[in-house]
């Protein structure tokens, strides 16, 4: 017969739903509808102890409005703050966009598995991003650049609808100037301007043009589902195996704890077991992604 579980009797256990308070230190406007928020925890202890992996996410809480999950766009190698890039879409994101520097928000996390950074060591890394999908990649890219010696060649293919829709414009330049990093930018046809020096065309097409080699490489891709779909086709053509392709999945992740029951794909909970999966894992899923 089973005994009833006993929680710690004197102190109530940690409240997993209670967010940590964080102040907005800086807001950068990336595009018309994307802003990057730099957040610093109110609690000094936490500021030091908060660690995370690229690819993990947090639950961002606007008190009285709601809570939404966002991937961490900053690199754990840069300590003392975290960053999220947020696109204005619905109720919560709209409220986030209305925030000002100095405002206090709630943060729960980090949640999810994150990218397998250790496994990436000693490998060529190919980043393929579209639109706001660059945010989780950015976390990893800085991580890689900050520990440049641990990794081999880095290729980044990033595209958006138009020049105005490219995020992290200043950082793109920095990456470009980093040795061993090859950055290719592209915009959809019609999204260019006269002085545009990058490519024109959809990301999968440009990826094919860049033509990275599959040998000792990993591809990390993130972007709109339609882009991912065609990127996979292209990679397949270039003989990348599905184990070599890593992506992040999007689901409605309300609790982030694997409890609320909605982000599962089969028996896998995207918030807990993901959001990072290799394409080989995804192929095993029965539900369509």
């Amino acid at each position: 017969m089973t005994e009833v579980l006993k929680p710690g009797s004197s102190e109530p256990p940690e409240n997993i739903y209670l967010p940590h308070l964080a102040a907005i230190k800086e807001i950068r406007e990336e595009t018309q509808d994307i802003k990057t928020f730099k957040l610093v925890f109110q609690d000094e202890e936490l500021r030091k102890s908060f660690t995370y992996k690229p690819g993990q996410f947090i639950e961002f809480s606007i008190f009285g409005v709601g809570e939404s999950p966002f991937c961490l766009a900053s690199s754990p190698t840069r300590e003392g703050y975290i960053e999220c890039s947020i696109k204005k879409m619905g109720k919560v994101t709209q409220a986030i966009h209305d925030l000002e520097e100095g405002d206090i928000v709630g943060i729960r996390g980090p949640y999810g598995n994150g990218f397998p950074v250790e496994e990436m060591k000693g490998k060529n890394l190919i980043f393929v991003g579209g639109g706001i999908g660059l945010a989780p990649l950015r976390s990893l890219i800085w991580n890689v650049i900050d520990r440049r010696d641990d990794f081999k060649d880095v290729i980044i293919v990033y595209g958006s609808r138009s020049i105005a829709d490219l995020v992290y414009k200043d950082e793109l330049k920095q990456w470009q100037n980093t040795p061993g990093v090859k950055l290719t930018l592209t915009v959809d046809p019609g999204g260019e301007a006269e002085d545009w020096k990058g490519e024109i065309g959809f990301v999968p097409t440009i990826l094919e043009k860049v033509n990275p080699s599959p040998g000792n490489s990993l591809v990390i891709t993130c972007g709109p589902p339609i882009m991912i779909k065609f990127v996979l086709v292209t990679l397949n053509k270039m003989n990348f195996s599905s184990q070599q392709i890593i992506t992040t999945l999007e689901r409605k992740m309300t609790c982030g704890l694997g409890k609320c029951g909605r982000c599962n794909i089969g028996s896998v909970y995207v918030c807990k077991d993901g959001p990072v999966f290799t394409y080989a894992q995804i192929e095993q899923f029965q539900e369509e992604i």
Partner: protein
């Protein structure tokens, strides 16, 4: 973000009915302006929300007011035939006729939801209506019906513990 109320020093004061008015901008709002321009005093319990037409007022607005704790709601528009949009108030009249019957049937005090026609020339009438509505809502007392606090699952007493505070 939900801002907390100002320190509740007023709590000791006598309860004052809180009334929200939805006024069409062509007739009733202008009527209220006229009352102002004519310096006709009326009780300060009403807060006016300006809408294009009484036909704009979704009955759910009324419900939201009452749910949020307003003690009374007044919707006011142009007299029949005077609507700036020619028909808006007729639709409003039907909606509110039904909605009022519904609230009454559910046992909501009918004094809490009132409708009036006030033209741009009826400053006096506006002031009179506010007076009457305020008095009626005062008589009805604080709205404890639709705004009743949520019920707890079990009646166990609670103690509050502050966890985080800056």
């Amino acid at each position: 973000m939900t801002e907390s109320r100002e320190p509740n020093t007023e709590q000791q004061e006598e309860w004052q009915p809180k009334i929200i008015g939805f006024l069409c901008k062509w007739c009733s709002y202008a009527g209220a302006d006229l009352a102002g321009g004519s310096r006709i005093p009326y009780p300060a319990n009403i807060r006016i929300i300006r809408v294009p037409c009484s036909g704009r007022v979704n009955p759910l607005f009324v419900l939201k007011c009452l749910e949020n704790g307003a003690d009374g709601v007044l919707v006011s528009g142009c007299h029949p035939g005077d609507c700036h949009y020619s028909e808006g108030n007729y639709y409003a009249r039907r909606k509110f006729a039904v909605f009022k019957k519904l609230l009454e049937y559910l046992g909501v005090d009918p004094r809490r939801f009132q409708v009036s026609w006030v033209s741009a020339a009826e400053g006096e009438k506006w002031a009179e209506i506010v007076k009457t509505v305020v008095e009626e809502v005062r008589a009805a007392g604080p709205n404890k019906q639709l705004s009743a606090p949520v019920d707890k699952c079990s009646g166990a007493p609670v103690k509050r513990k502050h966890l985080k505070n800056d």
